[in-house]
Subunit: 117 residues, 3 copies
């Protein structure tokens, strides 16, 4: 079974597919100074894009790990998330607070999803 990567950098790949499963790198916003709502939308749009490239989509998410840099952002994140996920096809998810790689980042999301082979 082949490993297929996309967005391959010297540190990490944005997406690694293996058979019928795809693993996404933790996605963060480029708009690092934006509020949690804007960052959440950007992060989820990146996930949509990476899943599409891997032959998947948000209805096939199996597992998501969400980190918010402060729990005060959690309600805003969830509002964006709840509007984004596909009703009846939501993934297993864990969400905790953690400082992220840059101080202005408020949200990071990593995903494992099923894909067509």
């Amino acid at each position: 079974m082949t490993i297929k990567r996309s967005g391959v950098g010297p540190r990490l790949s944005q997406s690694v597919s293996y058979g019928d499963t795809v693993y996404l790198a933790g996605q963060v916003a480029d708009s690092g100074d934006a509020d949690a709502t804007v960052q959440a939308k950007e992060v989820l749009a990146k996930i949509d894009q990476l899943l599409a490239e891997a032959g998947s989509d948000k209805s096939k998410m199996l597992w998501a790990n969400v980190w918010v840099s402060d729990m005060s952002y959690f309600a805003d994140f969830n509002k964006v998330w709840d509007a984004w996920v596909v009703p009846g096809q939501t993934p297993a998810r864990a969400a905790v607070e953690a400082k992220l790689a840059r101080p202005n980042l408020k949200v990071e999301v990593a995903v494992i999803a099923a894909r067509s082979v």
Copy 2:
């Protein structure tokens, strides 16, 4: 290969099975004000239940991610965990400190497990 979910909510599913693997959402206690020992027992009982529904059990856990909201709870959590896991069939595990979704939550555990298909 079909995706099967259980405990499907508008935000997340408690369990998502894909082929011979099942992903559980991060489990937390309902008894949010209880101590770490009580919360740990409740969390692991929820995991037992979700694994059973998915055709799995704790002897088939592959990977577990444990979060405690304060490392001072870690010894209590581990005492409950060590009594719960099946000797010789323990999963790979990572455990770190993180603030959880509600301030009174002390423990969260997410699991990936093998299941019968």
Copy 3:
């Protein structure tokens, strides 16, 4: 499909293989008082060893979760990581800050990788 474990302890196994996928426990340094660079090298050497035992290697990593106990260690960790990964075959990765099981630990890394069956 059989589950194969190595480094099986009463709390966790260092490595759990299931079919063509292997899950590693979060690896930390034994040299707990060493600086982040030394700890990072030790952690990645342990991962090399565990992957080899499971019929895998770092070029087959699918996903990595990195925790640093303080983001001030992140640059040092990344320097070691970047020199270690295989160019063109980097995994999806998420990295966040979290307090670890012992106060002197600076780095923890967990990995999911493909393996030969």
